[in-house]
Symmetry: C2
Subunit: 222 residues, 2 copies
């Protein structure tokens, strides 16, 4: 019985890892589609989302089932409920990659507005944050999780930079750029929201390991 439970926990672990990889891929592919003006690539991200949705439901069911059948005590219970939260965050991250892809579909038939520099940078930050947050979960690595939390302010700054440039240098100078500039501005915001969800994951990992609430209390990090 005990061994069986450990095996089921291990499977849960792997499922969440898989979910993380799928979410990361969705971000990567949506920004590749943006860079390459690739309608097909953007559509693929949108189509793949149902697989991620199904995996989310599967993981959620497994968690509740595990709790109901094994009635785990404190440490394991905390691991499983953290898994449920991470699972939900990853599903939302994938949803935001879909949002990005929808903006790409709006942009792809219109002339290029500007060379993309900061948005791909923001995308790399987002992907690294997702990678590190999941890694921190797997390794129960609090330091890595804290690093993820601190990266979020970098993402905030980059989003503000993109937004200010698009408003002041494009929309405000040439009104015909407005629809394209708004689409790019929203992509930057979608990416930054991915970073927010990833920060939630990192905070959940810290709480799982340390039982210390840093959620909503960033100042207590150090």
């Amino acid at each position: 019985m005990e061994r069986h439970f450990d095996e089921e926990l291990e499977t849960l672990y792997k499922d969440i890892l898989k979910m993380g990889v799928m979410a990361q891929e969705a971000i990567f592919k949506s920004i590749e589609a943006l860079k390459n003006r690739d309608k097909h690539g953007a559509q693929e991200v949108i189509n793949t989302d149902s697989k991620i949705d199904n995996l989310e439901l599967l993981i959620d069911e497994k968690c509740i089932d595990l709790i109901a059948r094994h009635q785990p005590m404190a440490k394991d219970l905390r691991f499983i409920t953290t898994g449920m939260k991470i699972n939900a965050e990853l599903e939302r991250i994938a949803d935001l990659a879909v949002d990005i892809s929808q903006r790409v579909l709006e942009l792809v038939d219109k002339p290029i507005l500007k060379p993309l520099i900061d948005i791909p940078k923001l995308s790399v930050i987002a992907q690294n944050m997702v990678h590190d947050a999941i890694d921190a979960f797997v390794k129960k690595d609090v330091d890595l999780a804290k690093k993820v939390v601190l990266s979020d302010s970098e993402a905030d700054k980059l989003r503000d930079l993109v937004q200010d440039e698009l408003i002041n240098d494009y929309m405000a100078k040439d009104p015909s750029t407005a629809p394209r500039a708004v689409a790019l501005l929203l992509i930057a915001r979608h990416l930054e929201r991915i970073c927010d969800h990833t920060t939630n994951i990192a905070e959940d990992v810290i709480y799982m390991v340390q039982g210390k609430v840093i959620k909503h209390h960033l100042e207590k990090l150090d």
Copy 2:
């Protein structure tokens, strides 16, 4: 022991209700602040958010503690894990009211761009959806929860309407309106995202009562 557990469940119930009321109030006050160009009101929504964050943490702890101490079976366990999810959604809804309030602070010192019609409408839809979703949870009312899910498309349409108007009638005609138009556009998007989170709550309620997955499968609603 059994009676004690029921009492604790009842308290959990009331805490989630309270969280719902606080989230609704935050939406209402943020849009009132927008309508009345009320810097103080917007700041109040931002300041109150830490109370909502603390309540979220408290509810989350209570849920895990309830599971750990009482090891509830299927039905009660499902109720508690649903409570955890609803709790997280409500915290995010309150966060979005903070986002709206930040946009209000950006707008408040600038000239009025346009009379507000559709954004207050969208806000009423959002508040009603939150109210009905929590009511559906309290009463375990699947029909009401389904109504909430179906309202979301109305919110989507209204957001698109606001966005198209701001881009085509303001930004594209008069570039000097861009910063204000972007702020209003984001407010419409924040409100629509509140409706998305509320839809998640309604879907969770349906699943809790019926054990039927409609999440990600809207077509199966009827």
